[in-house]
C-alpha cells in the first residue's frame, strides 16, 4: 500500500503542476511579463503613439532623480499616506472601541458605517466633487445658510490637498474599524476578567492589554491601508485632476506623464522607482510586524 502511494506520487506531482499551470501562465502573462517589460521600457524613449524606439541608457532614471515634480509628488504622497493612515487608525480604533460591546441596533450602525468603504472610490470622488464645489456644493450652501464663510475646498491651494485627505478618511476609516473590531474580538475575555480582579483602571487596561494585543492586527491594517494610499489615484483624478501642483500624487503623476504627455519610457522609469520605494517600505514594515507578532507570542 505504502509502495503504491510512493509510485503514484510523481504522477500526482505532475497533475499538480498541470492544475496550477493556467494560474502560473496568467500570473506570468499579467504580472511578471508586464513588470519586466516595464523595466525594459524604462531604458528607452518609448512613446504612447508608438514609433521608433531607441535605448536611452539610464537617462530616464537620471531625469527621475533630478525632477522636482517627481520629488514634489513623492513628498505629497508621503504626507498623504501619513495623514490618512494615522487619522484612519485613530478614528477606526475609537469607533471599534465604541462598538465592541453589544447594544441594540449595533448591526444597523455597523452596516451604515461600512457603506463608504463599499462604494467605488471614483464615484465617491465625483460625488465629493459636487459636495465640496465652492459655488453650488451642498456643504458651502449649508455653511452660507448658517452665515459662515464658504471655503473653496477644491480650488484653494491650502485646502484642496486636505479636502482629498478628508474624503479618504471618510471612505477608509470603516476599514480600520472593521479590522480593529476583529482584533478586539479575538482578545480572550479571561484577560480582562483577570485585570478586573487586579483592579486595573480602564486606561491601564487599554495600554497594557487592548492595544498590545490588537497591535499586530492593526499593524497589518496599517500596511494594507498604507500600500493602498500610496496608490491614491481615483480621488485626485475625480476632484482636482492629474496635473494640479498641490494635489498631484505619484499615481496621478504617472498618469500625466504616460497618458497626457505620452512619455511611456519616462513613465516606466517613474513606475520602477516607485516600485522599489514601495517594496523597500513594505519589507521594513512586514519585518516590523513579524517581530511584533513574535514578541507577542513569546509574551
Amino acid at each position: 500500500m505504502q509502495g503504491a502511494r510512493r509510485t503514484a506520487r510523481p504522477g500526482r506531482q505532475r497533475l499538480g503542476w498541470w492544475l496550477v499551470a493556467p494560474t502560473l501562465v496568467l500570473l506570468v502573462g499579467f504580472n511578471v511579463f508586464p513588470l519586466l517589460y516595464n523595466v525594459v521600457l524604462s531604458f528607452t524613449n518609448a512613446e504612447l503613439t508608438g514609433g521608433e524606439r531607441r535605448s536611452l541608457g539610464g537617462a530616464n532614471y537620471g531625469r527621475v532623480f533630478r525632477d522636482p515634480v517627481f520629488a514634489g509628488a513623492l513628498r505629497r504622497t508621503a504626507l498623504f499616506v501619513a495623514s490618512v493612515v494615522s487619522a484612519e487608525l485613530i478614528l477606526g480604533l475609537v469607533l471599534a472601541l465604541a462598538l465592541v460591546k453589544r447594544f441594540p441596533g449595533k448591526h444597523v450602525v455597523l452596516t451604515l458605517l461600512l457603506i463608504p468603504m463599499m462604494l467605488s472610490p471614483a464615484v465617491m470622488g465625483l460625488f465629493w466633487g459636487l459636495i465640496l464645489n465652492g459655488n453650488y456644493g451642498i456643504l458651502n450652501q449649508a455653511l452660507g445658510a448658517a452665515g459662515l464663510s464658504q471655503p473653496q475646498w477644491l480650488t484653494d491651494r491650502d485646502l484642496k490637498f486636505w479636502s482629498i485627505v478628508l474624503i479618504d478618511v471618510w471612505m477608509w476609516t470603516p476599514f480600520m474599524m472593521l479590522i480593529a473590531l476583529a482584533g478586539l474580538g479575538a482578545i480572550p475575555p479571561s484577560i480582562y476578567e483577570a485585570a478586573q480582579i487586579d483592579r486595573a483602571g480602564p486606561w491601564r487596561v487599554f495600554w497594557r492589554i487592548t492595544l498590545p494585543m490588537t497591535a499586530p492586527v492593526l499593524g497589518l491594517a496599517v500596511l494594507f491601508r498604507a500600500t493602498d494610499a500610496l496608490k491614491q489615484f481615483d480621488l485626485v483624478m475625480a476632484t482636482t485632476g492629474p496635473n494640479d501642483a498641490s494635489t498631484q500624487t505619484l499615481s496621478t503623476l504617472l498618469y500625466q506623464v504616460v497618458f497626457r504627455d505620452g512619455k511611456v519610457g519616462l513613465g516606466s522609469a517613474f513606475a520602477c522607482t516607485v516600485l522599489v520605494v514601495v517594496m523597500a517600505l513594505a519589507t521594513v514594515f512586514t519585518r516590523y510586524i513579524d517581530r511584533m507578532q513574535k514578541t507577542e507570542a513569546a509574551a
Partner: protein
Amino acid sequence: MNKLQSTWISTLLLTSLLSCGEKAPAPDAVGTDSKSGAKSAAKTPASQSPSPAAVPAPAGKQSITVWWFQWAPADGLAELGREFEAETQIAVKVEQIPLSSYQEKVFLEFGGSKTSFDVVIGDSQWIGRGASKGLYLELTQWLPTVVDLASIHPRAARYLCEYPEGSGKWFAAPCETDAVGMAYRKDWFEDAAEKAAFQKKYGRELRVPDTWEEFLQVATFFQRPADKRFGCAIPSDRAYDGLTMGFQNVLWAFGGTWHAENSNKVVGHLDTQGTIDAVEFYRQIVNLGPRGAERLDYGQVLEAFTNGSTAMLLNYFAFFPGIHKQFGNKVGFAVVPAHKGKRVASLGGQGFSISTKVPASQQELAKKFIAWFLQRKVQEKWITKPAGFTANAQILASPEFRALTPYNGPFADSIDSMRDFWNVPCFNELLSVTQRYVGMAVDGELPAREALQLLAEEKERILAEAGLL
C-alpha cells in the same frame, strides 16, 4: 486514472492553444468594417502584417469610421455622413469620444499596429506629432486635386492642416474651424437700472467690452456674489488645455508670447513683461467669476453662464448654439476684447486626418468622404448644422454666413486674428508644464515672473530633448 487525468488536461490545453492559433486571420481577411479589420489585423503576426497598399479592396457594404469628440458639431457631421452614404453607399460612422479622454484614446490607438478609426478629427495641436511620427497620411499631393487650396482660410490651413506651420505640407483637411469668442447677457447690458448704475460708477456707458480693461470693469461691476450674480466665466481648468486656451487670448493681446517669432527659443521671450502682465491680468478676471472659478473647464464655463448667474463668458464659438437656443435674444455674441488695439483669439477647431494604420482601401474611402465634404455645396450645408464652422474663406466672408446666426458674424471677425498654441510633436509636454506653471501663477502659488521663468526653462528643456532647439 492519474495518467488519464493528466493526458486529458494536456489534450485540453493543447487543443486550446491550437484553436487560438486557428483563429488568427489570414492577412487578406480584413473585413469590410474598418473596426473588424482593425481587430483582424491586430492578431496578424507583425512579420506577416500587410502593408496598406497590399490589402485588397473590401467587398460588400463599405464604411469608414471617423473619431471626434463628443459635441454638437459631431452630430452635424454624422448627419452629413448619412447624406454621403445615400449618394455613394459608403457608410460613415462618426464615433464621439468624451473630450476628457479623447487624446489618450486616440494616442493609444496610434500606439497599436492598427487604429479603430480611419479618420481622426484631431485637435489642432496634435498635427506635429501626427505628421512627424508617421501617424497621419500626408495629403499634400492629393488635396489640391479635390479642393482649391486658395479657398481654405489661410489661418485654418496654417494651424489645422499644415506641418510645419505654413510649410505647404498638408496632413489634414479642414473640418471644423473654431476660435474663442465672447457671449454676454444682452438683457443685463440693456437694463436701464444697470446702465444708470454703471454710468454713475464709471462715468461711461455700459456696453459690450471692446478692450480687456473694459472687460475687467464690466466684470467687476456685475460681480455680486451676495446676489448670486457674477462677472465672467472663463476657461481655467488644469486637466487638459482649458487654462492655456483661455489665457492665450490675453497673452498675445498684452504683447506676450510663447516663444520667439522665428524660432523655438523660449527663455527671454516667454518670461517678459508682456506675458507677466497678461498672467496678472488673467488672475484678476478669473477671480471675477462664480466661487471656484479658478478651475472651470469648458463645460463648467458654459454651465456658469447658462444657469443664469454670469454676465459674460469666454469660450469656443462651437459651444454657442446651445447658449443661443436657451437664451434667444437675451444673449449677444462678440469677438474677444483687445488690448492697445491688439486682438488675438485663441484658435480651436480640428482637421480630418487619415490614419496611416488602416488599409489603403480604407484610406481611399476616407479620401472620398473628405473630398465630398470639402465641396462648396456640402460646406454650405455644413454651416447650417449647429456650430458647423467652415474653413471656406469665400463662405466665411459671405453676408449669408453672417446672417445665419447671431454668432456667425463675430466668428467670421475672429478668424483673421486667431492663433494657436505649439503644435510641435512634444506639444503635450509643453501643454502640461504650461498648465502647471501658469496655473501656479494664477493661483498665487508663485509670483508670475518666477513661474514664467521656471516655465521658460522647462519648455527649453523639453524642446531640447525633442531636438527642436
